[in-house]
Symmetry: D2
Subunit: 338 residues, 4 copies
Amino acid sequence: MIVAMQENATDEQIDGVIGAMEEAGVHVHRTTGTIQTILAGVGPTAGLDLAQFEVLPGVEHVHRISSPYKLAGRAWRPEGTVVEFANGVRIGGDQVHVMAGPCSVESRELLEETARRVKAAGGSFLRGGAFKPRSSPYAFQGLGIPGLQLMRQVADAHGLLTISEVMEIAQIEPMLPYVDCFQVGARNMQNFNLLRELGQTRKPVLLKRGMAATLEELLLSSEYILSGGNYNVILCERGIRTYETATRNTMDIAAIPVLKKLSHLPVVGDPSHGTGRRDMVAPMAKAAVAAGADAILVEVHPNADKAASDAAQTLYLEQFEKLMAELKVIAAAVGRTL
Amino acid sequence: MIVAMQENATDEQIDGVIGAMEEAGVHVHRTTGTIQTILAGVGPTAGLDLAQFEVLPGVEHVHRISSPYKLAGRAWRPEGTVVEFANGVRIGGDQVHVMAGPCSVESRELLEETARRVKAAGGSFLRGGAFKPRSSPYAFQGLGIPGLQLMRQVADAHGLLTISEVMEIAQIEPMLPYVDCFQVGARNMQNFNLLRELGQTRKPVLLKRGMAATLEELLLSSEYILSGGNYNVILCERGIRTYETATRNTMDIAAIPVLKKLSHLPVVGDPSHGTGRRDMVAPMAKAAVAAGADAILVEVHPNADKAASDAAQTLYLEQFEKLMAELKVIAAAVGRTL
Amino acid sequence: MIVAMQENATDEQIDGVIGAMEEAGVHVHRTTGTIQTILAGVGPTAGLDLAQFEVLPGVEHVHRISSPYKLAGRAWRPEGTVVEFANGVRIGGDQVHVMAGPCSVESRELLEETARRVKAAGGSFLRGGAFKPRSSPYAFQGLGIPGLQLMRQVADAHGLLTISEVMEIAQIEPMLPYVDCFQVGARNMQNFNLLRELGQTRKPVLLKRGMAATLEELLLSSEYILSGGNYNVILCERGIRTYETATRNTMDIAAIPVLKKLSHLPVVGDPSHGTGRRDMVAPMAKAAVAAGADAILVEVHPNADKAASDAAQTLYLEQFEKLMAELKVIAAAVGRTL
Amino acid sequence: MIVAMQENATDEQIDGVIGAMEEAGVHVHRTTGTIQTILAGVGPTAGLDLAQFEVLPGVEHVHRISSPYKLAGRAWRPEGTVVEFANGVRIGGDQVHVMAGPCSVESRELLEETARRVKAAGGSFLRGGAFKPRSSPYAFQGLGIPGLQLMRQVADAHGLLTISEVMEIAQIEPMLPYVDCFQVGARNMQNFNLLRELGQTRKPVLLKRGMAATLEELLLSSEYILSGGNYNVILCERGIRTYETATRNTMDIAAIPVLKKLSHLPVVGDPSHGTGRRDMVAPMAKAAVAAGADAILVEVHPNADKAASDAAQTLYLEQFEKLMAELKVIAAAVGRTL
C-alpha cells in the first residue's frame, strides 16, 4: 500500500499514520519529497480496509498496490484452470461448452423435450432452477428437491451434466447427489457464509457476478471458495445494472477478457440474464464466444412464451438449435471447437 | 397493464397477445386506434413478469399500470406506520431517533463507553454487528451470539434498545432474545427466504436498500415481510453504487421523501454507509433529517481509527455528540423533535 | 400516451388531466375501470415532455406509447440505410469496414506510415483528430485545420476515406473539403445546434453515443440530423460510464443489435474508447462484429506508447494487422466480408 | 505518480517504464521491494494521461498522487472564494442565496409576476433560459437574445440579478450586457473551448456538473475557466444519472460537502433538475442547505403546469414562497442566514 500525505501534512500527522500502519502489521518505507511525503507499506494488507488510513489527519490518498485477492489471481496458476467433470467435459479448455435449459424446472415432459434437443444440438449441461427467488412474493417459487431429482434423471437419460442454483447453506447437502455443478446467483455473490461452505465441498461452482459488483469483488468472492480448497470455480458474467433500460441488464462483454487476464479461472457468459430479451440472446452469445468465453449459459424452453419464470429471455428450441449452429462457426473463428 | 402494439401489428399478432393475457388470468379491453392498437389488461398482474408479453410478436411496449406492491403502498395505510418499541420509542412519529454504535461488537469496555455516551447525547438504540460479512475472507468476521448477549446487557444497563444484523434464517431464533430490531443488510435485501421468515416474527425489521436496488424493488422486498403479517418494517437508505468514487456510495437523499410518498413505512438514513467517510457523516445526517428521515443510523466507536471494521466511516464519540446537538436544531427546523 | 390515474382520483382531477392533455393538442379516450381510470392520448406527443402530466394531481403514471423519434425508427425505412461514399465504400451493407488511425494527427511521417499499413491490412478509412478536447487544460490540444489538410493528402495518396471529429458549428464549413465523414463525439451527442447544422449538409455523420446517454436519446439526437434532410447518419457505440473501473468505459455490445432493431441506421463499434485499454481492443472488436456491427472504429499509431493522446488504448500497427486478420474470420462467421 | 510493477516484472520492463516516465518529464525514484518494485514519479504530471503507463509491459497499476487540478483545489485558497456581485450579493459567504425563475423565458407578464414574487420572498437572482437545448427536435427552443433583454429589464425593475445559460462561444459577447452570471449547463461541462472563452471574461460563471461527471472532472473543468484568470466560478450539483428511475436524476447531496472540502469554490444545489419532480424540490432544497450549499437554484413559474419546458419540476409561486420560509429556518439551523 501507498499513503500519499497532503502537501501541508505536519510531522506529527506523518508519525501518526506510520504508527497506525505499523500497528496493523505493515512495514513502512518513508520517502520525503520536496512537495509531499509518501509512505510505502509492505506486509499483510490483503485483509485490511485501507479506507481507515484514508481518513487519518494529513492523508491525501491511500492506494492499494497488490491485488486484494491471491488464489484467484492469474499469477497463482498462469497456465489457467480447467474444471473437469465426470464425463470428461472440461470447462476452460479448447472446447466451448453450452449449458442450457429452462429457468425453472416445471414438469418431466417439458424437461425431457428440452434435454433431448439440447443434447442433439451439442449442449453439455442441462440447467434448471428448483429454488426460485422472485422479486415479487406473489410469483411462482420453484419445485425444490423433487425438481432436482427429476432433472438428474432426465439429464442422465440424455448424457448431460446438471447445473442448478444453490441459495442457502442448508441446500448444499441435499443438492449434492443431483447436481454436477452448483450455481451461485448474482444476489448471493457476496453471501460469504454460503461461499465458504461451498469451499468445503469439491463440487464445481459457477459463481455469477452480482448486479452491481466490480470484477475485483467477483474475484474476492471466488477467493472464499478457493481458500476452502475447492479450486473448481467458474466465473460468470451475466450483466450489470446501469441506467440503460433497453435491455434488462447491460452485459459487460469486456468482463470476459479482463477476467481471463486477471485470473486463471474459466469464464462463462450468460446472455439470457445479460440482456433479458430473447431477441438479443443470439447476438450476445456470439459476442461472448468471440471475446473468449469458455462456455455459454442460456435459457431455453419448449414453450418459451409460457415458461413459469424468465419467459421474456428464454429461447424457443428452434432458436436454440439455430444459435448452436452459429456458435460453432464463431468458436472455430476464434480457434476453438464447440 | 397496458400493451401497446406496433403500428404494423397484424390481427393474428393482436389475437395472440390477447390470448396470452387471458391465459395469465388478465381481463382485456381492446382499443383500436387509427395508428395502433392498445390492449388494457385488468386483473392479478402483481405477480406477473410483464416482460413475457413484451417479446411477443407485434408488441411495441408493455407498461405496468398498478404498483407491483400492495401492502407497502401508501394507499394501504394513508396515515403512515409508526413502529413502536417496548420502552415507548416510536419510529415514524414526530420524534426523530438516532441508532448508534460500532460496526462490530468487539469488547465490553468499548461497548460500555459507547452506550453511555450515546444515551447521554440522546440516542435511542445501540447498534452493533455480531456476524460480519466481509468482502475479503482474510478480514475480521465478528463475535457471534456472545457479542449479542454483551450488547443486550450493556444496552439494558443504559436504557437503550438494540439493533443488529441478521444474515441467515438460522440466526433469527437465537437472536430473538437479544435484539429489539432486526437489521437486514443491503446484500440480503433480496434474500427472499430470509425476509419471508422475518415476516413470521413480530419483531421490527429495518430493511436496508440494496446497493443497486430501485426503490420499487425495496418496496417489493418489504412486501415479503409484510405479507407474513409483520407490519413492523422500517426502510433504510444507505447509498447506492454509482460511477462516483469520491464517496464509497452515493447516498440517495431523495429516496427518503420519495419512499415517504410511495409508502406508509418509516424511513431511516444511514450516512455512515451512505458516504463511507467520517468527515461526510455529519452533513449527510443533517441532510437526511432535513429531507424527512424518521431516524438516523450511524457508526460510532470510542477509538474510531482502530475499529475492527468500517473504521473509515466511524465517528469519534466527540464528533457524535456534536452531531447530536446539530441534529436537534435541524429536527426542530422541520417541525420535529430529537 | 397513456395516463393511469390513481385509484382514488376524483372526477375533478380526471377532468383536470383531460383538459391539460387537450390543451397540448392531444385527443383523449377515457376508460373508466372498476379500480382506476385510464386516459389514452393520441396526437402530436413526440415533442411533449410527458413528465408535466405525471405531476398533475391524481395521476399515478404516464407512459409514452409511440417512439419519441420517427425518422430514425426502423419502420421508416425497414430495409435499412446504407451510407455510400465517393469511392464506393458502403457502410451498412454486407461488408464490414474498418476506420483506423491515431487519436490525434501529429506529423506527416507518422500518418503516412499509419495510412500505408491500414490500407494494406484492409482498412477503408483513415481517422484522426485535429481538434482535441481534453479534460485537463494542461494537455495537448490538436493541430487544427492544417492537421486535416495533411490527413486529406495522406488518405488520398493511399486510397482511404477520412473521418474526423467536428466540435463546433464554426468548424463545419472549413472541414468540408477535408473529411469524407464528420464524427460527433460523445460529449457533443446532445449539442443540438451542432447536430442541426450537420443536418443541413449532405456529408455523412458518425454520431457517437454520449457517455451516459440511453439508446433512445441517441436516436433522438440522430433525429436532429435526419430532420434537416441529411440521411447519411451512422451510429456509434463507444462505451458508457458505469461503476466498473477495470475498463475506462463499459462497452455496451448489446447496443449494436438493439440499435439495428430499433433503427434503420448503420451501427459502428469503437472498442478503443469502449475499453480504454489496448489489450482489450481485439476481443471487443471481435465481439462487436459477432454482434452485428457494420464497421469498427479503432485507434492505431506507429509508436502507440508515445501517441500524443489516448496512448493507453491505441494499438501498435502489428496488433492492428493481427486484428484485421482475425476480424475477417469473424465477419465470415456471421455471413459478411471485411 | 506511483507505478507499481507486477511481481514478476523483468529488469528490462522496469527500465522501459522508467524511460517512458522520464521522457514525459517526470523524475523517478525507484524502490525495489522483496516482492515488487515501485516507481515514484515527481514532476509535471497534471497534464499526463496516466493510462499510457498502465498498459506498458510489466506494470500492475498506476496511481495519481497529486490532484490533477491546481487552481480549483482548496489548498490554493484555503479561506474559500466568495463571488461578489455588483449589488453586494456574495455567493460563498454566510448568507445562503436563492436563484429562481422559469426554465425558459416566455413572456413579460409571466416574468414580471415571477420576479415580483421571487424578490418579495427573499430571492436574489432571476433565472431563465433563452437558448433551450431540447432532446427532441420537435420541442420549444427558446426566445434568444430578446428573451434576455426582457429578463434584464424585469430583473432591474425588481432589484434582482440575472443568470442564464450560455451554450456557445458566439453567445458570450451578446449575452454580456444582460446577465450577471453565466450558467454552463450539464451538457456543456466538458465543452472546453466554451469554458476557455469564459475564462477570458471576468463575469461569474455557474458551472453545472455533467450528468455522468465525477467531482474530479467537474473541478478539472472549472480549471479551464480559472486558468484564464476568471476566478468567479460557482459549482453546481444538479443530479447525476443512475439506474434509479423514481426521480429524473439522483441528486448527489454529498457532492456539496465533498466539493467544499476539495475546493475553495462556492457550491450551489439545483433540486429542480436534481429530482425532476415538483413534489421533491422542497425536501431536497432543504437537504442541500443542511449539507452546506451556498445557494439554491430552483425553477418557478406562475403557471407551472403550463411552463413551456421542464413543467414537471417547476414550482408554483405559492410552493416557492413556502419553501423560502422553510429554507430560512434550515439556514439558521446551520448557522447561516437567507
